[in-house]
Symmetry: C2
């Protein structure tokens, strides 16, 4: 029996036992929210604490959620046993129906089923991907690595300028030989296209992974697996602004929402190559900065307070950003020349290990 199947089975058995013993069935669920999340200074990732809540069937405040938890668990078990996968929106639609002859629905909207999925992840210590539930996909990978998936075997550097579109669920794929020294994770597709055109991955012996904005789960899992299984260092390259830096921090140590998954979704040893506020001066990019918006300013204040941005190098960048009132995009490097980023900026910084922690 599959490990996840077993965990689901054990939970269900406990509930059945409670009923057979004429006790009110209940389950213990680790608490969500900031109060049960902490930053592990040692492992340098966000983790979940040990506060739990009891969810009891005969408490009317819990009954609906208890029922939802059973529905989702049973659906996930069926998926795992049938070796099928469902999107989390499909799960919502699949389980939505009216209860009995009444007008009450099992779920009113998808936020309810999403919550239950997160509860299950925390409770069973599994990824939703291991429950065969799939997040929406975005992002691609390009470079010299052999990937085996679904009976196919291909090299992600032999796919023209396109690269491989990374699925939402990468649990079953296998990595074979990777003839590279590190992974460069890039925020925008446009910058990735630039680096592919400049043959950067070939010349610098690296894999290129485009997350196309905030890294989706498929990409985070891919980075984490490649880092662990193929022993590849991860270097992150985003815009020089609070949003780009947050993308980096999520890749590195996880997000508050999904803190319980940090150990399987994060790369605590990831390094940040740019863009930084210092770059604006070093490379004389003052003419191509953009003014900060209110949301950017708000984000700076938040990030200044996060423990994982407490390093003095990050505090310096954040304060400098606040003071200068501007942001700098990856693509602004085109102001020097199109190939500047691939010929000078990245190779020099990476060679000199000029990283932020």
């Amino acid at each position: 029996m599959n490990k996840t199947d077993k965990k689901l089975q054990n939970m269900a058995k406990k509930v059945v036992k409670q009923i057979e013993n004429k006790n009110a069935p209940s389950i213990d669920i680790p608490q969500r929210g900031l109060s049960n999340v902490f930053f592990d200074e040692n492992e340098r990732i966000l983790k979940i604490g040990d506060k739990t809540s009891k969810r009891t069937f005969i408490n009317i405040a819990h009954t609906k959620k208890f029922m939802q938890t059973m529905l989702v668990s049973s659906y996930a078990q069926r998926l795992v046993r049938d070796e099928k996968h469902a999107g989390i929106r499909e799960l919502y639609y699949a389980l939505k129906h009216s209860v009995g002859t009444g007008k009450e629905n099992t779920f009113e909207d998808q936020s309810e089923s999403n919550m239950v999925i997160e509860d299950l992840e925390r409770m069973l210590d599994v990824l939703r991907e291991q429950l065969n539930l799939t997040a929406d996909r975005r992002g691609f990978i390009y470079g010299d690595i052999v990937i085996v998936d679904n009976g196919d075997r291909f090299n992600a550097s032999k796919l023209g300028r396109g690269g491989w579109s990374v699925p939402g669920n990468i649990e079953d794929i296998k990595f074979k030989k990777s003839n590279v020294d590190y992974i460069l994770c890039v925020e925008t597709a446009a910058m990735s296209d630039r680096l592919i055109e400049e043959k950067f991955p070939t010349k610098n012996n690296c894999l290129l992974i485009a997350c196309q904005g905030q890294a989706p789960r498929g990409i985070r899992r891919l980075l984490s697996r490649l880092h662990t299984e193929n022993d590849l260092p991860v270097v992150v390259f985003t815009d020089g602004d609070p949003y780009g830096w947050y993308i980096y921090s999520t890749i590195k140590q996880g997000s508050i929402n999904l803190a319980y998954l940090s150990n399987t979704l994060s790369v605590p040893k990831a390094k940040f190559v740019g863009m930084t506020m210092d770059d604006i001066e070093t490379y004389d990019l003052r003419g191509v900065t953009e003014k900060l918006k209110d949301l950017d300013k708000k984000r700076i204040e938040e990030e200044l307070k996060y423990p994982w941005f407490k390093h003095k190098k990050w505090q310096k960048q954040l304060n400098k950003c606040k003071k200068m009132g501007v942001r700098i995009e990856q693509q602004a490097l085109a102001n020097k020349s199109l190939d500047f980023v691939a010929r000078e900026y990245l190779p020099e910084k990476i060679e000199a290990k000029d990283f932020l922690p």
Copy 2:
């Protein structure tokens, strides 16, 4: 000399000649906006009219734009000659600088350079991709077709469950053998993942193209080229709502903004397989509809007026949507069963040619 290079060269030569003849240099640019766009009932695509505006260097209202047009033209020509590509944001940053010793910038923000790029497309009757300017990429292709790009040759059905990530610029790629009968273009990545898991493309002999929302230019061009060059019919599958139907209409006959490109970016013979309002009744999906938002309602009113939605079958769907006040998502079909869409819904509708025009 490359055709686009020649067109740019000819424009530049005219300007030089005007200067040599001591005339004020000027160029004629087809007018933008709804007043110069019409729906060609015969070809069934949006087209641009023949109204032009003169842009003159010595008119101070035009001087800046004239200068911008020359800057962008010259940059594009360099790209074409160097066989390099630039993102439209890269172009903006590359050309942004202060003029002379003054404080005036060549471009204040990207909307200005974007406008000039569109002007050039209309003026020279070329795609920005032919000017080697690249739009942001999104979307992927999966299925039995051999693609040749950048010296690589691969079959897009041999890439596991991922598929090929479609670049923003596909002008240079070549299609070899395609062992398929038609193309299914799907709105969401999640539905595409469902169809891949169900082996729909293999069992039904089709290519699957995911546009992941409104079809980006790379995907529209891919559809248009595959339709024309490989003689493949295009069937579109979106959510059953005004936004999904607009995605379809853009693929089919172009958008108002880019009407001047309809002949190279559109597939006037594309058909629509679903979702429709009728599906809600036929497949008993009332329990999994979602309420319309204000924006949806506004869109219905707009679409009811568009000439390309005047067909009585579309008017019926739009009015029905308005009356029922709900929308239906592709993924709601999971309410029947996960494989329902691949086993019944799509094969039956496509076999019966149960399409909207």
